[in-house]
């Protein structure tokens, strides 16, 4: 193993990690807002990838251009999921935690079924996109262009999200609602509207990730499952509810995955991620940046 291969894989691990962060941040945002873990998060990603695929297949819109459209579509979808399902799940007086887990888990199964029904279980891919398969060489290190753009989009999205939460009225309403949902009602903020917008925003972020991912990943009804677990681990590693934690968690997960792949057989590369998660929470039971 030369120094070059190590740098090479750590660099691609970093890029992938930033994308993991982007996939996970929607989950972290929704959890921070209302303490709900969306067990259909992977399926949100799957739907975003399919939308990107069909925009490409039917209208020849490159994933880079369709990404904002996909994010907008997912925004609407996320808000609808809140209004039609989650709104009722959080009202449950008994077993609130389990009801949230299983109503969103049921949604995940339905979404997979719908995807199979309309799109068949076949693997699909976006072929001949602008960036697909292209690499760029920086100082002897080859980096795939889609992942590079994905990482840039992820950084931009995190920057935008930071600005949004701290500088806009809606962002402040979001922060206020997560602090105390009862009190914001007294100052005339509609809690349901804020939650719906929060779900929309969370879904839009994973939609953005899905659009980029579709450039270099196969698209099939179960694709979400493989990324969902990584997203949960990323969010928990960073600390539930912390947007910055998801960013940091994503980078750590990407780097750990790449280093594990260097040391162990490729099929075991996720073991490193899981082991690091366990080590972190055994030392810090609230994740790296989670608040009590």
């Amino acid at each position: 193993m030369t120094a070059e291969t190590i740098i090479q894989s750590l660099a691609s691990g970093l890029l992938m990690g930033l994308l993991y962060g982007l996939i996970a941040v929607g989950l972290a945002l929704i959890f921070g807002l209302m303490d709900v873990v969306n067990f259909a998060h992977g399926e949100f990603l799957m739907i975003a990838m399919y939308i990107t695929f069909f925009l490409f297949a039917f209208f020849a819109i490159d994933p880079l251009l369709s990404a904002p459209l996909v994010a907008a579509a997912l925004f609407v979808f996320g808000a609808l999921v809140y209004l039609l399902i989650v709104r009722f799940a959080v009202r449950a007086k008994a077993n609130a935690g389990m009801v949230q887990i299983f109503s969103t888990f049921g949604l995940a199964i339905v979404m997979r079924g719908v995807a199979q029904f309309f799109f068949t279980p076949d693997y699909r891919s976006v072929t001949h996109s602008w960036l697909g398969g292209k690499t760029v060489s920086i100082g002897g290190i080859f980096l795939p262009q889609p992942q590079l753009i994905g990482a840039a989009v992820a950084i931009a999205a995190f920057g935008g999200l930071y600005f949004f939460i701290h500088r806009t009225d809606f962002g402040r309403a979001l922060e206020a609602t997560r602090e105390d949902a009862g009190a914001v009602a007294l100052v005339g903020i509609d809690k349901n509207r804020v939650f719906a917008l929060g779900w929309g925003l969370g879904a839009a972020l994973v939609g953005l990730a899905g659009a980029i991912m579709s450039i270099f990943f196969y698209i099939y009804p179960d694709v979400g499952a493989s990324f969902a677990l990584i997203a949960y681990v990323t969010v928990a590693l960073g600390g539930f509810g912390s947007v910055f934690g998801a960013f940091a968690g994503g980078i750590i997960v990407g780097l750990v995955e790449a280093s594990t792949a260097l040391l162990l057989p490729p099929s075991l590369k996720s073991v490193g991620i899981y082991a690091v998660y366990l080590l972190v929470v055994f030392v810090r039971p609230r994740g790296l940046f989670g608040s009590i």
Binding site: A92, A94, M98, I109, L268, V271, L278, V281
Partner: protein
């Protein structure tokens, strides 16, 4: 007053359970259809598994989404002991149970410090690590899995080529044992401790409940029973691979009947299994054959509908106490 009510209810539960088990035992003598018998075996098995999951996650409140690990360990221990060393599956199932209980306590030692979602995700990733290790463990068949060699019907080897009846009676026995253990624990020191730990661990601790030990006890009992179920399942399908006994979906499938029936209740898991498993199997064979996912849509829709409409579980619908309260 309260005490006699409670004692009466417990006696009634026991009588009802005995009658239901007796009726269930007669049913396959009249229902000869192999397809239906297969569904009955699966229903009883998932009922038993969910009942066991319910001990740790329902009564003690430690939501595990990684019980597939113990199911898989039971299946693998039984199968490996039999195929590699010729140990009869009866001992294999017990061995798998003991190994799982020990591992559950070993894992519980660091994990029970975690709360809520951090705990649940820890259980998921531990089960995933187990899955990946078995995937790469050549001696244990790796990704290809292990086929249990059939050598004719035998009670000793617990394998039957045609008849489903022996499997049915074992599954029934397992469901009865899991139910009875739950029934017995409900009114034991452990049962009270667990409910106290679930409701408020700090308060329980201050009243002298050894929270940590009681979680460990629940984990051990729960893992033991689930592993016996895993050993049974391996014998029943006579072929195992990592995905088919340790996949994440098994952890969720184990939790689902209890959640839909009523988590932390005596009858919830069995009731949930009786409704859910036949629906799953029937939708799979009647509308799932097209491979177009309609069965998934029905199944997922049912989960959403029940969990939103009856968050406390379906079991309340059958409770006479509740009817009185409504009146």
């Amino acid at each position: 007053m309260m005490d006699t009510d409670f004692a009466n209810r417990r006696r009634r539960d026991l009588i009802v359970a005995f009658c239901l088990a007796a009726i269930a035992a007669i049913v396959p003598l009249f229902v000869k259809d192999v397809y239906v018998q297969n569904i009955m075996v699966l229903t009883l098995m998932w009922g038993a598994l969910s009942q066991s999951w319910n001990i740790l996650s329902g009564y003690c409140g430690q939501i595990s989404l990684g019980h597939a690990l113990y199911f898989g360990l039971g299946a693998y221990t039984t199968t490996l002991l039999f195929t590699k060393f010729g140990v009869l599956p009866w001992f294999g199932m017990l061995g798998g149970g003991v190994i799982s209980a020990v591992i559950a306590m070993g894992l519980g030692y660091p994990c029970f410090r975690l709360r809520g979602h951090y705990f649940a995700i820890a259980t998921i990733v531990i089960a995933e690590i187990g899955l990946l290790l078995f995937h790469n463990w050549d001696w244990a068949g790796a990704a290809l899995g292990i086929t249990i060699p059939m050598s004719g019907d035998s009670w000793l080897k617990f394998q039957f080529a045609r008849s489903k009846l022996p499997y049915f009676y074992f599954a029934l026995a397992l469901a009865c044992v899991a139910w009875f253990v739950t029934w017995w624990l409900e009114d034991s020191k452990w049962g009270y401790w667990w409910r106290a730990v679930k409701d408020n661990p700090e308060a329980a601790e201050s009243l002298g409940v050894v929270v940590f030990n009681s979680k460990m006890g629940a984990a051990a009992v729960s893992a033991f029973l689930v592993a016996v179920g895993g050993g049974f399942y391996a014998q029943f399908v006579s072929y195992i691979d990592p995905e088919s006994v340790m996949g994440f979906q098994f952890s969720l499938l184990m939790a689902l009947p209890a959640v839909l029936g009523g988590i932390g209740t005596l009858w919830g898991p069995m009731l949930g299994a009786v409704i859910l498993i036949p629906v799953t199997e029937l939708t799979r064979s009647f509308i799932g054959g097209s491979g177009r996912g309609v069965d998934l849509i029905v199944y997922g829709g049912l989960i959403i509908a029940i969990s939103l409409a009856r968050p406390q579980g379906l079991v309340g619908l059958f409770s006479p106490k509740r009817k009185e309260a409504v009146r």
